[in-house]
């Protein structure tokens, strides 16, 4: 006897529709801001748990020169078309200044030469993109901690915002400008540097010339490239999307240690 819809066929159909319903339900939940807020609550738990088990100065692993990637991938902006930045590259960054301001006692404006004269650190570390890949590179740069001491943080300062020269998206749209933020634990971490050299050469444009932030212990998007200005703030809720970074405003975690 042949059955057009045997037990197996029925089961298969039931499973397929159940799976379809689950998927449709997940898509609907995913689009709901309240559900998103619930899912996002795990980020705080992750940050607190990681900070609990980790010494605040625990170092990211450093590697040997032989481990350096020859195919270090550049992601995000790799050749910014923003006119101000294009002018800086044409002038070899001669007129470029790094501004450190906001909630500081003594705002700074540093040339690349002055930055190179600051207390520096060299480290061979792994760069982990949120997409899942890793590359290893050698970085030399000015330690951020001593720079903050020089500028003198005011008591209210709790975060540093990194304003960048590049736009991810239409040039000229203020929402396209890349920015990032970190807290003072990461800012004063010994491996947190403003890197001006990569693999013993001046930092190339695809990797953020003239300087990029290295904030080891975080995923790649926290390592802001093309940094122009570091602003000490009490809070970043008023800024742009309010979540503290270009990718954060687009749904990624502010705490990118995982």
């Amino acid at each position: 006897m042949t059955q057009p819809m045997g037990r197996r066929g029925w089961l298969k159909g039931a499973l397929a529709s159940a799976a379809g319903l689950v998927l449709a339900a997940c898509d609907r939940i995913n689009a709901d801001p309240r559900a998103t807020a619930v899912l996002q609550s795990a980020e705080r738990l992750t940050r607190r748990a990681q900070r609990l088990v980790s010494d605040r100065n625990a170092l990211a692993r450093e590697f040997a020169p032989a481990d350096i990637s020859r195919d270090f991938r550049a992601n995000g902006s790799i050749r910014p078309a923003d006119p101000d930045y294009v002018a800086h590259t044409a002038a070899g960054f001669a007129d470029w200044r790094l501004v450190i301001d906001g909630l500081v006692e003594r705002p700074l404006s540093l040339t690349l030469e002055e930055l190179r004269a600051q207390p520096a650190r060299t480290q061979i570390t792994r760069h982990d993109c949120v997409e899942g890949w890793s590359s290893i590179g050698k970085w030399t740069g000015a330690r951020l901690g001593p720079l903050l001491d020089r500028a003198g943080l005011k008591p209210g300062a709790r975060y540093l915002v990194f304003h960048c020269a590049d736009s991810l998206g239409p040039v000229g749209d203020p929402n396209s400008k890349y920015y990032e933020s970190i807290d003072l634990i990461d800012a004063r971490h010994p491996q947190t540097i403003l890197a001006y050299e990569m693999n013993d050469a001046p930092l190339p444009v695809p990797h953020g010339a003239p300087i990029r932030l290295r904030v080891e212990r975080h995923l790649g998007y926290k390592h802001a490239k093309y940094v122009m200005r570091i602003e000490a703030v009490e809070d970043f809720a008023h800024l742009r999307g309010g979540r503290g970074g270009f990718w954060e405003d687009r749904g990624y975690e502010w705490y990118a240690g995982i």
Partner: protein, 276 residues
């Protein structure tokens, strides 16, 4: 005196702890798997070691073209297979797109890494807390020792062989023997709860740059972050393999009886009726 006529009786088989943690695990593992495939799709290639060797992944999926038509290609260890519609390239007719795993396997169904991570990192906590409750409760309440740790009789080669043969014939223990897990069940459940799911969590944590700084020994244990990502994927595949076999056994050994027992705790067994 026995009449020899079997009758069905309900026995209490699964305690509350097992039932609650089981169903929470069903939810968490399903959502973790599907959001995990979403995350995999952001870079559908796997490597061994500390870093990515982009030109030489040991496994990857890509979209390619043959005779003007897009195709999906999966490469494993240098061998390529066309996997159009499932891996590399998939989607409804006319709306196909390059993607690792297809829309029906990912959360959300469209490409969205940020959302995938949100689901994944939330339900990772659900899995971990649920697992801790299971282990602490199971150790304190005796479930692990009483129901899961194989005894001497379980481990005799003769018994193991007997269970393998009868399972392959889809003949399952009846009567008193059905009150307890057989040695293959014990091994499978302990293996998943003790080895596979903790391995998922450990290899997942080894991908975290924050945890790498806190516990650098984990990088050495798994051979680097990219190895950990590969092992995370392999362990997830083994979890899927377990679930497939588990569901097949559930269906073969009595679907409704098994489902009821994991909901109410009551499992029907056939017993020889004893009369005075």
């Amino acid at each position: 005196m026995n009449t020899g006529r079997p009758s069905r009786t309900l026995v209490y088989r699964h305690g509350l702890l097992v039932r609650i943690t089981h169903w929470l695990n069903v939810v968490a593992v399903t959502l973790l798997l599907m959001s995990g495939l979403q995350i995999f799709n952001a870079h559908p290639a796997l490597y061994w070691g500390q870093k990515s060797t982009f030109a030489e992944p040991w496994i990857n999926t890509t979209a390619s073209e043959r005779a003007g038509r897009p195709i999906g290609v999966t490469t494993i260890g240098g061998l390529s297979f066309e996997t159009t519609g499932v891996l590399g390239y998939s989607g409804k007719a006319g709306a196909g797109e390059p993607r690792g795993f297809p829309a029906w396997a990912t959360i959300p169904s469209h490409r969205d890494l940020a959302s995938g991570r949100r689901w994944h990192l939330f339900f990772a906590w659900v899995l971990v807390i649920n697992g801790l409750v299971y282990w602490l409760g199971g150790l304190a309440g005796g479930h692990i020792r009483r129901d899961l740790v194989p005894d001497r009789r379980d481990l005799s080669p003769r018994n193991i062989w007997h269970e393998i043969v009868t399972h392959a014939q889809l003949r399952f223990p009846k009567g008193e023997e059905a009150r307890r897990y057989n040695v293959l069940q014990k091994g499978a459940y302990l293996g998943v709860a003790l080895v596979l799911l903790p391995l998922m969590v450990a290899t997942g944590l080894t991908m975290s740059p924050g945890i790498n700084a806190a516990w650098p020994w984990m990088l050495d244990l798994f051979g680097g972050r990219q190895s950990a990502r590969t092992l995370h994927f392999i362990a997830a595949s083994l979890v899927v393999a377990f679930v497939i076999v588990h569901l097949a056994m559930v269906v073969a050994s009595g679907l409704w009886n098994n489902i009821r027992s994991m909901i109410t705790g009551r499992y029907a067994i056939e017993v020889e009726e004893a009369k005075p």
